[in-house]
Amino acid sequence: MDTTANTRQGLKELINRAGIGLALLGLVVFFSVFTEHFLTANNITNILTQITINLILAVGMTFVILIGGIDLSVGSIMAFAAVIAGKAMTMPGLGPTEAILLAVMAGLLAGMLCGLLNGFLSAYWSIPSFIITLGMLNIARGAALQVTDAQTVYAFPKEFSEFGSSLIFGVPVVFILALLLVAVAWFILNHTILGRMIYGIGNNEEAVRLAGHSVFRYKMIAFTICGLTAGIAAIVYMARLNIASPIAGIGFELNAIAAVIIGGTSLNGGRGSVIGTLMGALIIGVLANGLILLGLSDFMRQMITGVVLIAAVLLDQYRARYGRST
């Protein structure tokens, strides 16, 4: 009997989520009608490639926002992880496979360490994560510049950059990787204790603590996951652009937060989903792409992007309110 309950719950959620899906569909239809190239295989490949980094960052950000935190440092962590990985990959005397493996490990580890530090500092001393990660934004950026002396790291093995631009049936491999991350995150959030605790902490931290769970531990895990996704984003960045720049990813945190919020996750924590985040990232990507195809000036483009972000959140608010009173 609870399966029917689950299905009905799922259906309700689907309808609830359809709001954001409808917005996405509306944008797609609009751009398909008014531009010549929007709905072409090439362009769709482009969009998917272009949203991949933001999507990966936003998946990690979803965990942090769900526990009621925020991570302003992901753009900087991405740059730091990228230059660490870049340095590892260009170490002399390594074969391409070893170089790539070492680099990926180093990049992911660097990202995780930064995230762990964010989580530890904000959870242990109960300092708002806004402040701690604002500090990390500067620390990681400074570290990236220090490590490289502000020089771009380049000359990666050919195999690596091929991975960055390879397609499977027209779908970028890096986007498939990001989708896989979305799936894993969805599974964690809906089918593990960790996920249950993350929603619980976001809703009522005290109730979770009094039920005998370590809030500290789960907060650390959420931030570490966010750091890890910044590390993954760093690897994808390198594979796509074939360089590792210490000034990469400036402002990326805001795009990632925007994707999460547009996707219907509450900034107060406790409510939202990673599927919504996927939708949010798609909306941002479709908009950025479509407005260029439409031939709008850069400044108009920037304004419209802002307007759409606000509209998406208002729509979600309206939906939440309407949904409550029915």
Partner: protein, 513 residues
Amino acid sequence: MTNIQRLEAGSDNDETVLRVTGLKKHFGGVKALDGVDFSLRKGEVHALVGENGAGKSTLIRVLTGVHTFKDGAITLGGASFAPQSPQQAKARGVQVVHQELNLLSHLSVAENISIEALPRNRFGLYDRAETRRRARLALDAIGLSDVDVDAVVSTLGIAHRQLIEIARALQSDSAILILDEPTATLTDREKLRLFDIVRAMAARGVTVVFVTHHLDEVFAICQRVTVFRNGKTIITQDIPQTSPAEVVRHMVGREVGQLATKRPAIPANVPIALSLKSFRVAGSSSADGVSLDLRYGEILGIAGLVGSGRTELLRGIFAIDPVVSGTLQRDGVDISLKNPAQAIAAGIGFVTEDRKDEGLILSMPIAANTTLANMNLVTRLGLLRHRGEASIATEYGAKLQLKFGKISDAVSSLSGGNQQKVVLAKWLATAPRVLMLDEPTRGVDVGAKAEIYAILRDLADQGMAILVVSSELPELMTLCDRILVMAQNAIQGCVMPADYAEENILKLAYRQS
């Protein structure tokens, strides 16, 4: 008392200030108000009672301009009344003091009292002296001369905060003042003080609507009572013409059985489940601390005024707050608990005082809340078994006669009594041997209250050791095998069933024995 008599005589004049007829308010498919009739006379204290979900809160929200309405009519002072906002309601003299406090906790008492219209001096700047003067006046008017107007609200106890909110509502010229569960957090002494204030207000011609779950209060202070059930007005009666039993019958729509009967004392050979010796929590004002023994199968009550250290004691036992000295024994063995997880592992459960802030994750499903304290029941290798979880939650729901739609519904969709049952289910799912409860029936309606008492009695009969803290003395006297009375972080004495009387308990609580 003289006030009341004078008012009762005056109420014969039948000066109706507010009349509600055929009021309907629907939220989607839910009929929160389904044709309500309600009237108020000038200067009366009118009780509004009904189980949770009966429509009391919705009516208050309509009267105070939070909700608008389409069907029905309201007249206030002879003119039509349809407030579109709380400001409009206030302008017509309708004020409410909410159950949830609306004070700005980092501002001073004076600033809070004047926050809606901060006074300005002739230069148009904020006038601090005038703010303080008005606050002093407002506080003195309700007999709160002991409260410093410059005190920051967060430093005051919850009872004082409530009185300050009443002072705030009263300083503007209210025609109708609605008090929503005003005594929920008050001790008996504070309650009496509030009643005096209410009587004085009524004598000045203010009409007071008293929304409460406590019928003793209704009969102590009100002249008339209106009963709501399922969004409808059941009856309005003059207090002298009715009885508590009759009101309860109207509220629940059926007769409520007598509460659990007295039982023989627990024999001394029953093993002790939990034993405290000179147990002192941080901030305790007592040098000796608390010593007590709790036996299996026993329901031990702890009475005391707010601030006597009852809640702090339970929080100390459950290792939420630090313990400074003393020992804690489980089954005769000294143990030292470092966090709630270890307390749970030691077989202790703790139903906290505040289910919204500490007990429940309101927006999460009933099922998820039920298993929150014992995730092992429903996980394998860290993975959740949703189906197993639903069936376990359903099982506990059935055991506790939980009334719910779907087990996957959010807890926030339940009434107060059923929410409390979910908290209980959560702790029962940990299979505790010792269960501690702090104010187990706060904000719970009469029917559910009786059910919760029966459940606790049943658990004790099955051998569970139960420790109950409550401000409601009838509750403790109904439920407990023994009542310990606390004051100033120490046990002042023990009252046995043979001596159960509010007077005996209060004497100890006020340290008058």
